[in-house]
């Protein structure tokens, strides 16, 4: 193995320098700023992207159904995860992106729900709490470490990411799906919250949630959605890894443009 590499500026670099404590100390100074900038950038990006593509499903508990929420959410999250993962893996071999995306989303979401939804607007947090996806991020990153392959991660990790989104959140949600009789009508606790806590511009019909249909598979909505979400997640993650690769490949041109 050669111990010398050429940098872009054609300056010779001896890899043994990495063992030099003085150089190492110098490099360490960059770590914390990079970590903070990276996490902040990931947090802002995912917050904006997720709010625009799947916001309402995560804002209100009466939107988190068995059919659309478990499908829309992984698709939305894996778009950015795929894009970021390629660069960070290709440049640093650090399997942190999926966890960072989900962790930063959780932190930023709690800040937003507390201040925007609870303090400023007055909604109870029990109605607007965020879902959690950190477990899915860890699974995806851990799969990447164990397979060391983006392709295998998109197949096996992608399936888990989509399929486990519902069971991961069920301990948070289940209490809100208990039945209530209200004025002679069957409602879940979440439906009742959606009715009682007035949202002027979010009428009942606006919810994109499961409706009764003739095309069912023995009424098994949750497992079927999980399988389909896993299948779709594989392709979304794989597809956006490719997008990440494409961006990475043209990074120089993009830098010039910027």
């Amino acid at each position: 193995m050669s111990t010398e590499i050429k940098t872009d500026g054609d300056v010779e670099f001896d890899i043994k320098q990495l063992d030099n404590p003085a150089v190492y100390k110098y490099y360490r100074k960059f770590d914390m700023p990079i970590i903070l900038i990276l996490l902040f950038l990931i947090g802002l990006s995912v917050m904006l992207h997720y709010s625009l593509t799947a916001g309402d499903w995560d804002y209100w508990i009466d939107w988190r159904d068995r059919r659309f929420w478990p499908l829309v959410t992984p698709i939305s999250l894996l778009i950015l995860t795929g894009g970021f993962t390629y660069s960070i893996w290709a440049r640093f071999r650090l399997p942190i992106t999926a966890t960072a995306v989900t962790l930063m989303l959780a932190l930023f979401s709690w800040i937003s729900r507390y201040y925007n939804f609870h303090v400023f607007t007055g909604f109870p947090l029990s109605f607007t709490f965020p879902s959690t996806y950190i477990g899915l991020g860890i699974l995806l990153d851990a799969t990447l470490v164990m397979t060391r392959s983006l392709l295998l991660t998109s197949v096996f990790g992608g399936i888990l990411y989509g399929a486990l989104i519902f069971p991961l959140n069920w301990p948070l949600f289940a209490a809100h799906f208990q039945p209530i009789e209200y004025k002679g009508i069957l409602l879940s606790v979440a439906d009742l919250m959606g009715y009682e806590y007035i949202r002027t511009t979010t009428p009942e019909y606006l919810r994109i949630i499961e409706e009764s249909t003739l095309r069912t598979f023995g009424g098994s909505v949750t497992p079927l959605t999980a399988v389909f979400a896993g299948f779709v997640s594989t392709f979304v993650y794989g597809g956006f890894l490719m997008v990440g690769a494409l961006i990475d490949k043209h990074a120089k041109s993009i830098r010039r443009l910027v």
Partner: protein
Amino acid sequence: MFNKLLERAGVWFVLPLIVAMFSAEVLAHGERAQLASMRMRTMHWFDFQVSATTVKVGDIVTMRGTFSPSEHWPEQLPNISDTGFLNVGVPGPAFIRIDSSVNGVPMIRSTAFHAGKVYEYEVVLRARLPGRYHLHPLINVKDAGTLVGKGAWLEVVAAEDGQPFVNNATTMLGDVIDLETHGLQNIINWHLVWIVMGVAWLVFWLARKQLFIPRFILVRHLKEDANSLITKKDFVVAGIFYVVTLGIILGGYLWAENKYPITIPLQTGKVVVEAPDIPTGGLDINVDSAQYKLAGRSLTIQTTMANNSEHPLHLAEFMTANIRFLNSDVALSTAYEDEEMVSMDGLTASVNVIAPGQTVEVELVAEDALWEKYRMTGMIHDPDSRFAGVLFYYDDEGNRYFQELGGPILPRFFD
């Protein structure tokens, strides 16, 4: 120096005062923002009542009234006969909605409303947050937007005991839950578990001696062998995280299934509301022409009316876009205390009473500065110059009838 300070202080004092003076108007009447012709031709709201205008947190307020979708509903708008929802216009959940109904049908879900029908609504609210609010009935129309009814100001003061607002409900399993905090501690606990897991994963990968720059150099140097940066320890730790994560997910799911064995999916689906036709009382009205005089701020409608009933009919009121023009010569329509958007003598009719069997040409003039105040003069700028409104009239026994008038409208600019 002192004068300048005084001057600046004056500006800082006067400016907020001016803002405050006008902000009340702005806050109250967001409904003015919609095009005049859209307000006239979509929904007619009337008979609005609110049970109290000053309440304490926890008190009940009932809002009721009537609405009728316009038969002149613009073709280009998605129609209310598809899907609509009775809602409340208030800034945030200052109130909770305890009950709402239209013609006696609970309005928890969406429904369809039909032109030319009469719908009586009732919304029961419980005050939740102290403040001063302008309360409106609303109809959200799928794919079209929101139609705002006439509203009223409500003052909500803090409860005397100062206790936090409680919103109890009983599940079908007999548990009494407070919707304000239901399941919240459990949710926070689960989030903390996952945040700790996520932070642990990131710390394991980021708390390293050789991080970004050394790894970047090594990856470039190692090329195809860059995967060798993932050590055996990394592999083992990732495997542990993998198994623990799967274990927590499975354990959490089983815990939830055990704790909440009976759950249901979110409920949805439309309901049907039966509604009577508009009571026209045997009066046939044909609109011959209509003009809006800009300078006079008046709408003049030329009509031919035929009374086919057995009673004389008294033309009492014209209403459009929530603005009421009352005929003081007839004085049968009344306004409630502090009612906004009412012109007490704004309607003039060339014939006030139509005798039984009589067919007569009637000129109706609705004239008031309210046209200007509520931005109705903007109708001359609308791309679809048509109007609609409701004419109310009474028989000798005091029975009220009404029907919708509408058609093309021409502006007059100079007289």
